[in-house]
């Protein structure tokens, strides 16, 4: 048989690697086991042949999960220290879930007892898997089943912790640097990340959208603003824009275009501009003729559109169909 048998059947993947023995055959052992009908603790001692005992327990686990909740792994307690490693592997296989195990690798009996109590207090997923297997016992008395350790409170507690861990895992994927295994440091990371994102929102709302007052933005506010402005005012602001654009055009055409675009303006030949303006609204003529360069506001009509001007970077939402298309 192959080594995959040592993975617990109830859970798909256990994060803890089992140092599984490579091969074993469980048929003999199972027969031995199942021949002894009830599973009193003392009886199991003699039945398990020592060499195959570790592997047998794994096979035993498979049947166990389905049928029996209350199985005692007595042979474990009598293992010699050499097998402690494998025993740990099997034991972790039994606990069907992602529990951190701290198995001291010492001698057999005392070890098992310690780890047993530990896992009993830690077991979370075992409730869902229906009370997996065996609790190693040194006493002949039957202990409480794992998964129903003491009372409903602890079960609820366990469920709750499990839920929290699950959500933590999903949070881990969201947050960069989410490779911390420690819960506390993971929470710190999450908190820092949330603070960082909030800070980013604040900075972004300051940078271009909110804040730096500049002459050009002031111009854009007025130039792109509603058309209730007097034509005189429009003329002066248009002139300033004009100068700015001319300056920019000396260095680089692209930057000039971008500047205009930033104001919600576009560049077009004068003839076209005059044609459009005369076609739509004759009263705009004085404005158009005042503009030597063809920096035309994108909403030439008198009867339009609220223009959203965010300071520093104008967002022009032009809704009239007759307007010049934006470059």
């Amino acid at each position: 048989m192959n080594s995959s048998l040592l993975t617990p059947s109830s859970s798909s993947s256990s994060p803890h690697h089992l140092q599984s023995p490579a091969t074993f055959d469980h048929d003999d052992f199972l027969q031995n086991f199942f021949s002894s009908a009830p599973w009193p603790s003392s009886a199991l001692d003699d039945d398990a042949p020592p060499p195959t005992s570790d592997s047998s327990l794994a096979g035993f686990h498979h049947h166990d999960v389905d049928s029996r909740n209350q199985i005692t792994m007595i042979p474990l307690s009598h293992h010699n220290p050499n097998d402690a490693v494998d025993v740990n592997a099997i034991y972790s296989g039994f606990s069907a879930g992602s529990l951190p195990f701290h198995f001291p690798q010492g001698s057999g009996g005392g070890v098992m007892k310690q780890s047993h109590t530990q896992t009993q207090s830690q077991a979370t997923a075992s409730t869902t898997t229906g009370g997996t297997a065996a609790t190693p016992q040194t006493k002949p008395k039957v202990r409480a089943r794992r998964g129903q350790a003491t009372d409903p409170h602890s079960i609820a507690e366990r469920l709750r912790r499990e839920r929290i861990a699950e959500r933590m895992k999903s949070l881990q994927e969201l947050v960069p640097n989410g490779n911390k295994t420690d819960k506390a440091s993971m929470l710190d990371e999450i908190i820092d990340y949330v603070k960082f994102l909030q800070l980013q929102v604040k900075v972004l709302s300051m940078s271009r959208l909110g804040g730096a007052a500049s002459v050009s933005s002031q111009i854009s506010e007025d130039a792109g603003g509603s058309n209730e402005n007097t034509s005189g005012e429009n003329q002066t602001t248009a002139k300033m824009t004009e100068h700015q654009v001319a300056k920019l055009m000396e260095e680089d055409m692209g930057s000039a275009m971008q500047y205009l675009q930033g104001k919600g303006l576009c560049l077009m030949p004068i003839s076209l501009a005059t044609t459009i303006s005369t076609a739509t609204c004759p009263s705009r003529n004085p404005l158009i003729s005042a503009v030597k360069e063809a920096g035309v506001p994108l909403s030439p009509n008198a009867a339009t559109t609220p223009v959203v001007n965010v300071k520093g970077a104008s967002v022009v939402t032009v809704k009239d169909a007759s307007s010049v298309s934006k470059p």
Binding site: E166, K183, A184, I190, L197, V201, S205, L209
Partner: protein
């Protein structure tokens, strides 16, 4: 960006939803407030920041999420005293002690302060809200960044 692999639903809408809401809020802002002088930039900044959060809350699912609900509530309260009390499914009560005293409570406390509406939640619910909040925040940041990049000259 759809929901992840987890069974808990934390999907957020696409970027354009956020963008739409944000621009709408900005245009409302523009019509409400005439352009003020540069000394009042702080005021403007605050208003824009609030607009960003409110638009994010609206875009992210309106009142379906606890944090967005509480955010909108806070914003409305600041604007005017009359807050229309939306129908709440359950009252805000002090969570029972056994729900709030796990091992990681001190850190959870800080998280509660950060996430809007966090004071009234259990820890597990808090984590779920935090996941959604983080997704929405990062989406909003992306939108704002795109806006700023696309509209800045040069």
């Amino acid at each position: 960006m759809g929901s992840g692999n987890n069974p808990i639903y934390t999907g957020v809408p696409e970027k354009d939803v956020f963008a739409l809401h944000f621009l709408q809020t900005l245009s409302n802002l523009r019509t409400q407030i005439p352009f003020s002088s540069p000394d009042k930039t702080k005021d403007r900044v605050k208003k824009i920041k609030k607009a960003a959060y409110v638009s994010m809350a609206r875009a992210a699912g309106g009142t379906n999420r606890l944090w967005s609900r509480s955010l909108l509530h806070q914003a409305a309260k600041r604007n005017n005293k009359n807050v229309r009390l939306s129908r709440r499914r359950k009252r805000v009560t002090w969570p029972r002690r056994n729900r709030r005293d796990p091992v990681e409570e001190p850190a959870a406390e800080r998280l509660r302060n950060l996430v809007p509406g966090g004071g009234a939640m259990e820890t597990s619910k808090l984590m779920e809200e935090t996941a959604h909040y983080i997704k929405c925040l990062s989406m909003q940041v992306k939108v704002m960044q795109c806006l700023v990049d696309g509209l800045s000259p040069k």
